[in-house]
């Protein structure tokens, strides 16, 4: 437990909230303290986000190179896999994988695009491009 936020996090918005935690000291008392997370906790959380961000940038590069459709990028951005995405959008997993091809994605109906857009909580226009 630290009193002040420390600079392990790369994103400035992270680590602003205080949490309650318990501890046990040598005299046999359990104590409740409210404070910011310590350094080890930040290291492991940042590790997870590093991993996710790597995947997101990789997907973005692929989309810009024209290898996959923007659905793959938004899927990584929402931290879901194909199975969860098919559940979220209500489209079967095989069709989701089929829609990863840019050529297929470009001729999708608006209705299907709307399903994806609502799953990602964005508009159809946003779905068509990678910001």
């Amino acid at each position: 437990m630290d009193e002040k936020p420390n600079p392990v996090y790369k994103d400035e918005r992270y680590g602003q909230s205080r949490e309650l935690s318990y501890s046990y000291d040598k005299t046999g008392n359990y104590e409740k303290t409210v404070g910011f997370h310590g350094e080890p906790d930040r290291v492991i959380i940042q590790q997870a986000w590093d991993h996710f961000n790597e995947r997101i940038t990789e997907a973005k590069e692929k989309v810009l190179a024209g290898k996959v459709s923007p659905i793959a990028y938004y899927m990584e951005k929402n931290l879901v896999d194909t199975l969860s995405l098919s559940m979220l959008a209500g489209i079967s997993i095989w069709r989701v994988k089929w829609h990863f091809r840019p050529r297929v994605f470009n001729r999708l109906k608006t209705k299907t695009l709307e399903k994806y857009a609502s799953a990602f909580n964005i508009t159809v226009e946003e779905l068509k491009k990678v910001e």
């Binding site: 997870a48 991993h51 931290l79």
Partner: protein, 339 residues
């Protein structure tokens, strides 16, 4: 009174564990002062399971807490309280209507939600974790007042956001699950509830005939941990190790995989019944929790240098094995205590 504005006089207290915190707060609303560790211990919050073939966020699933809703259900059962749990609503609209009706009656209602779309949640925790619990205690038009025990103060959510989090998808999807208390008798038989709670926890941690749950699961994970660097390479092994630590320390815990809270429960009940043996187990549990904390410190140092681990994985595995033995001693001792 304006029919659109409802605000129940519900006291929000911060807690280490989302569900036992919600349970304790709900009990407090009905005039029973049940502390968070007490709710946690009676409701069997303590648990361990390791499921290597199921992946959550690209790493094996490791859980330090019981299945969602167990804490509330068991603590209500063991204390003899009239509570309602609705497991599933097919239609989101029906789920929201049921919530609105409850609020009109003045009943604060607990819900299971997913974390990813919780707008007020700290951004670093917004991952797909579907076992979070919140309590709704008020409504103004489209805005719902939410008590989330991870946060210091009560928060608000809009209707759309609430529907989205209540129907989050993925493993352990909430499906709009909600629960509330109908009535509480004036006198609660805490002693028999504590007895039931302890024996159930001992059963779940040591006697379930399946090798991936409880102390045996912990040993299995220790064995696997030693193999990870050879099997997956240092990069992935470090990410998997990080997953153990994240589940242990960060996802709505009071630290050390709830071992501190459980030790606190043992101490509180030992003082309540004047039982020196329970106090002794509480001390053992506290030491185990400190060992868990040490494991986190060493593990986090490994996670920092991903490709060049400072401490050996076999040493970490041995440490986990040691923790498993320490915990087993606690449960064996608890099994023998007669309350």
């Amino acid at each position: 009174m304006d029919p659109k504005k409802i605000l129940i006089n519900y006291a929000h207290h911060q807690a280490g564990h989302c569900e036992s915190g919600a349970t304790s707060n709900l009990f407090g609303f009905y005039g029973h002062d049940l502390s968070e560790p007490m709710a946690f211990g009676i409701g069997n919050g303590l648990y361990f399971s390791y499921i290597p073939f199921l992946k959550v966020q690209y790493a094996p699933m490791i859980s330090f807490r019981n299945l969602p809703n167990v804490v509330f259900k068991r603590s209500a059962d063991y204390l003899g309280i009239d509570a309602t749990i609705i497991k599933k609503f097919k239609e989101p609209k029906a789920a929201m209507l049921a919530l609105d009706r409850n609020l009109e009656k003045g009943i604060p209602t607990g819900m299971q939600v997913g974390c990813f779309n919780l707008t007020f949640f700290p951004p670093e925790y917004r991952m797909h974790y579907n076992m979070h619990n919140i309590v709704c205690f008020g409504k103004e038009g489209d805005i719902y007042h939410i008590s989330d025990t991870v946060m210091e103060t009560p928060q608000t959510l809009t209707y759309e956001d609430l529907v989205r989090v209540r129907y989050a998808k993925g493993p352990f999807a909430p499906n709009g699950k909600m629960y509330w208390i109908n009535s509480i008798p004036k006198e609660l038989d805490i002693k028999s509830a504590v007895k039931k709670g302890i024996s159930k926890t001992v059963y779940e941690m040591t006697k379930i005939p399946f090798p991936l749950i409880g102390v045996r699961g912990l040993r299995w994970m220790a064995k696997d941990l030693k193999k990870w660097p050879v099997k997956h390479g240092y990069e992935k092994a470090s990410f998997y190790l990080g997953q153990i630590l994240r589940m242990n320390e960060d996802f709505g815990t009071g630290g050390a995989g709830f071992r501190y809270i459980y030790g606190s429960f043992l101490k509180e009940s030992g003082e309540l019944f004047n039982n020196p043996e329970l106090l002794e187990t509480s001390d053992m549990m506290g030491k185990t929790a400190n060992k868990w904390r040490e494991f986190t410190y060493i593990g986090a140092r490994n996670c920092r240098n991903r490709s060049k681990p400072e401490e050996d994985y076999s040493m970490l595995g041995n440490m986990l094995g040691e923790i498993a033995s320490m915990e087993e001693n606690v449960y064996k001792k608890l099994d023998k205590i007669l309350l």
